[in-house]
Symmetry: C2
């Protein structure tokens, strides 16, 4: 009786981070009743009630991560800002860490990401390293340029666009890379995955519309309105990256399409990503299930679209801060093909990611139309004292 | 600032029973982050890790149900064998109980179900009441007939088919109804729902193939291979039942189609049902979300089919008893459109419902073909000592 092939699927999975990505990973795991555990500093982390256990602790602390990780079979992440040292030591103990610690280390440093792109001749905006704000000011960088903190950036934080000398107050005083501004026509993203066998699978390219005020994705369209040629180029670049990285797990890659229809890689995240939320309701396999399949070396799932879709982030409404109140759930739920995902964050603040809606229709035109009908109808506010 | 309309959706939901139906209800609730709580006697009930809390206790005990129920806003069930007395008293306290206690009481007694059918002229097989085994034997009932225990039947238990005097050992000694055997051509089911507004919504009719050995659904097809006329008749009967019952919540109704194409109602369950599991992956709204929408008086969701589907119950393999081991997960997951749901029951025994698979394809023919490919490939066994 050979059980090894099957027991692997019931391995204990540990996740660093228990935010909304963790929660949706837990929901995916629940279908197979996979035992899944989270480490998060917040007592009421979104993933809490959907897992086999939440450990309260800081995923940046060596001891905390080490102690959490040694009790699971496979350890993964839903945020890349974690103690890589602990992961490396856990790996030595024989715990499977996916994505691999060396990849997380590279992703944590936007400078190392750029070097990876250079090494493998992956098109990415030209850049220079700077150690501090004064170095940048003295560096005579032509305007406009983008400063990215090498470490700690997340959800639009750690990125400054400097358009002229008037923006000097926006320059962060931290080791950074400074990139040439691309003349952006579209922002695109692709989610790929790779398992231990080396199988690779890609979702269709999605197109993002950003809320420029907060530099967060506000609206996402799948399929992207791009030519087959651009789609194929992106797929080729993504495949190359997945192969060279030898990643085991999900990899989200963000791209710019410039005014000359040239493609540039912007950045990467080795985990489920905001640009893949629509896959829960609109694709055969969700990005969360795909991540689990990848790290458990199960066959990768079909990434095919069941329906075109629009994904809208539900952000905390400006002007409200405090205990979150959901307004308009019944209004949006009255429409066929509108799926509401609320993350259960107790407190809201302006532009905080509180949930998302996926709008699924037989054609992308209908999906866009319906999304315009429901956009803004589901609001997250707080009680005004 | 009027919040009443919205806060209702974030009411605390309590569920009597934490089995697989409870677990799938919890997963549906998780998308909106509804606070949901379960009462179940089993410490490792399937719903345990997917809820805001599991209370260990017997849902047939007055005190246990009363104490559990008084702490929630809306109380519902995933099994109908619960203390109705406690529910009635909770209702007096102002707790919303859906389905209503009087409906649960009627469903608990197959005799009362029959009387409901008679009162509303709903076609159901002719029947007689009997108090004991000896009464049935003396009753000169023409063979073959079906004995159904008035109370406590579940998952094929509490039902005996008596074909001749040789089957007398199968007659249960309990208050029963005895029904004329219908000459069954097809077994069909429909799931309907109704909210407090009186809105009614029906899923398409499904066709069931039973495993006769254990009287459990083994295979379910949606849409059913029936004429529009039969589909419409069933929809009319279901609408009538939902209206007359004034139920708030989901109602599953099982039917026989006889050799003369006449339709008979077999029985009903006022909750999510095995015959609606395919809706998770193949319909716009799952039966579990629809139940939540009904009891929270949210707009009922679209019941439209996204794709035709086949649902296969995954039963504990005969010959194995003990700690469950899942075999072949990777084999079935290699196919596009195959969704695996495992309930997480720790121990298996022959024919125990351990999970289900839904097979979703663009046509029902393709779905049938793929289901034949994967049927039996996912096995639940136990370690042989």
């Amino acid at each position: 009786l050979n059980l090894t092939n099957n027991l692997k699927s019931m391995k204990k999975v540990g996740v660093l981070g228990g935010g909304q990505l963790g929660k949706m990973l837990a929901i995916a795991a629940s279908n197979w009743h996979l035992p899944i555990y989270f480490l998060d500093p917040a007592e009421d982390a979104p993933a809490k009630n959907f897992s086999h256990g939440l450990t309260i602790g800081d995923f940046n602390e060596y001891e905390t991560v080490f102690n959490f990780g040694k009790n699971v079979d496979v350890l993964t992440i839903e945020i890349e800002h974690v103690s890589v040292e602990a992961l490396k030591d856990l790996q030595k103990l024989g715990i499977s860490i996916f994505p691999q610690p060396s990849i997380i280390e590279m992703i944590q440093d936007k400078g190392l990401q750029k070097e990876f792109f250079q090494t493998h001749q992956i098109p990415s905006p030209p850049f220079r390293y700077f150690e501090s704000k004064i170095d940048i000011i003295n560096g005579q960088v032509p305007y406009p340029y983008v400063q990215k903190a090498r470490k700690g950036g997340y959800d639009g934080k750690g990125v400054s666009v400097i358009r002229s000398v008037n923006d000097f107050h926006l320059i962060m005083d931290t080791p950074s890379i400074v990139e040439t501004c691309i003349s952006i026509k579209k922002e695109l993203a692709i989610i790929g995955s790779r398992n231990q066998n080396g199988d690779i699978s890609l979702y269709p390219v999605v197109e993002m519309v950003f809320n420029e005020q907060v530099n967060l994705v506000e609206f996402l369209q799948c399929p992207a309105a791009i030519s087959m040629e651009v789609e194929n180029q992106i797929r080729q670049i993504a495949t190359l990256i997945l192969e060279k990285m030898e990643i085991c797990g999900l990899l989200a890659i963000e791209f710019f399409l410039d005014q000359d229809n040239k493609i540039w890689v912007n950045e990467m995240a080795p985990r489920p990503h905001n640009s893949g939320h629509h896959t829960i309701n609109a694709h055969y396999t969700s990005q969360f299930e795909q991540h689990l399949r990848s790290i458990l070396n199960l066959p990768l799932g079909s990434t095919s679209m069941i329906s075109p879709s629009i994904m809208i982030n539900i952000l905390g409404e400006p002007g409200y801060q405090g205990d979150a109140i959901v307004m308009g759930l019944d209004t949006v739920l009255a429409h066929e093909g509108v799926y509401v995902h609320l993350y259960g964050k107790k407190t809201t603040k302006p532009f905080r990611k509180m949930g998302h809606m996926t709008i699924v229709r037989p054609t992308i035109e209908e999906a866009i139309m319906l999304s315009k009908q429901v956009e803004g109808k589901l609001r997250i506010i707080a009680k005004v004292e």
